[in-house]
Symmetry: none
Subunit: 407 residues, 2 copies
Amino acid sequence: MNLDALYSELTLKTEAKLALVVLDGLGDIAPPGVDSATPLEAAHTPNLDALSKSSAQGRIVPVAPGITPGSGPGHLGLFGYDPLEYEVGRGVIEALGLGMELKAGDIAARANFCTLDAKATVTDRRAGRIETEVCEDLCALLSKNIKKIGDTHVMIRPGKGHRFVVVFRGKGLEGPLTDADPHREGAPIPKAVPVNAKSMKAKKTAGVVQQFYKQALPLLAKRKPANGFLMRGIAHQPDIPSFEERYKLRAACIAVYPMYKGLAQLVGMEKLEGPQTIVEQFVKYLEARNDYDFFFIHYKYPDMHGEDGNFEAKKQAVEEFDAALPVLLQNRPDVLAITADHSTPCPMKGHSWHPPPILLNSAFSGSDKLDRFTETGSNLGSLGVFESKYLIRQMQANARMFDKFGA
Amino acid sequence: MNLDALYSELTLKTEAKLALVVLDGLGDIAPPGVDSATPLEAAHTPNLDALSKSSAQGRIVPVAPGITPGSGPGHLGLFGYDPLEYEVGRGVIEALGLGMELKAGDIAARANFCTLDAKATVTDRRAGRIETEVCEDLCALLSKNIKKIGDTHVMIRPGKGHRFVVVFRGKGLEGPLTDADPHREGAPIPKAVPVNAKSMKAKKTAGVVQQFYKQALPLLAKRKPANGFLMRGIAHQPDIPSFEERYKLRAACIAVYPMYKGLAQLVGMEKLEGPQTIVEQFVKYLEARNDYDFFFIHYKYPDMHGEDGNFEAKKQAVEEFDAALPVLLQNRPDVLAITADHSTPCPMKGHSWHPPPILLNSAFSGSDKLDRFTETGSNLGSLGVFESKYLIRQMQANARMFDKFGA
């Protein structure tokens, strides 16, 4: 039997409340030495420390050993969807990041304005890095004039600087297409063509993209340096089985940043809007506790400061999180997992492959007898090192949602 | 998407130098008691201790839980080739061990002289354990008289005692064949036949083997007790994607014993000849550092003494290695892994399934804050217990050879 089928078959409906709290980019690496510390280790975290004493710990591998995930695969993995099976294109991620509402089958592309010469050769791939306001004007111009191509709706959303996103919504569309981007200057914009030449849907999609170029380029003709545009990562939103189908859990997302709301929405979670701080997010959880079975709570700042290589700021972000934690614990979830989508070590100033630590607390997690929640401590935990796609299964088990397998 | 395809797609070319140092059979098991020690734990290892303070540790499973690997699967696993996917016949391993240069498609067989009675019944499977010199004479006799069978070249190489290896090189050959060995006395030599009855290439190969017997047996007729021979593990060298194809790393092997050179050569590593001691091996690395991206350095003695059950000698072998380590560190590889192909516990006097410890050092390995490199300590490391086929992927990640996966 297939493992997912087994989990499904064993799943019972319970009253348990589960919460997955993601400290984005939390994991870090310690400098050389036996007395060195990561930001999490250096932080003053009395509330996490207290929680740790009744929790299990371990480390999770987001995608596979050595693979550094972006936010998309990182979160899909946490949500229990194998990131190698459910590939989400760059266009879809960008659209979600701009807060666009996508449906399964929508085609999304990352786009940016560029400069073309009289022979339609790309002379500047970033159109002299035009200001965001110029980009917004140009997107408004395109939006006003191109609403539909055949039976396909066109949605355009400006991003920062020269960047924007185009979404095509219609019947019988499919990606991925190759990039309409020469990836260098001095060449014309190539046509986007189906990666799988046999797909009739991708062929239709390529036709829509060509029509879009045919209608859009004349509108930009006099807008030099932004008289052209490139499109990349053109793909459809995959049809992902919803969180509720997969886990029999009604799920809500309490995030601040659009990308994470979008990723939650990809798997059918409901977005609870409003909170801007981690305290407000936890208050929102308290308010909505009766309405859902599962809460995904996303805290962005450890990642942000890790990207900057700012140890002190990352440490403080952890301390702010810790100070807010008692609000969540006022009505403690029956199963609480605290972890990260990936590590963002300060010395690397970027995402990394290092398995983030995970803390799992429930009436049945057992205590690993660790007095803190840290990278080094989590190495000693009873959960060991496991693939993040099993995390929600572990949470379900702790919620006693699985019947016994066999007699 | 397939995981290997993902690794491939994300691989970047860098200037990093990687070194995989294999202390053959290093892993051991501690005797009863909480104060007991393995040879590695009992050894005085100031240089490994110092390295450990800036390294990550873990344990690797060579093939699968409970499987005791031979040198072939042990090293293929370390090199990142799933030993279940790339099966290398015993004949091929023996040929490599005797220093024969094989090509993909060559058929190799382990052979040994035996005694036949007048009815061609095997009466002694080892021909009274004839001396190596006699074996060499007989192999020379066969070599001189049988150079080709049809369009297939025949190469014969004597081993120790009654053992030798036969290699057939020609077009359209394929293994495996069943053994030309009754595996007991009192029976005739069975014909080697294709394991896969539908393979035309294996049928041709079986014909070549039969012809070989037809020509060889009369030459031996008067050489009793060595008037016959048995052939086992008859198979072709598989077509293995080269190390450079797989990892985009130009690889060199610095080993002393022919078998390990042969295994490295199987995956397309270049052999750097000359060194006889571990100090000389490290000096060779220093000399060749600019010419390759990856170095496989093989140290045989922990295994050898483990096979003898000689705790003291195994401990000393580790200490000699440790004393030599500063030579390697004079120009430290950017990524250094120190581990074993398998454990060879002294109490077992042989290879075992126990996961060997692994130490991984790079600017991005992080420190697991362990003050020694030992079996017990490695249990506390951030790498956890993982399959050895991921080791080079971990090394590549530490060399920053992987682009981020997804946005």
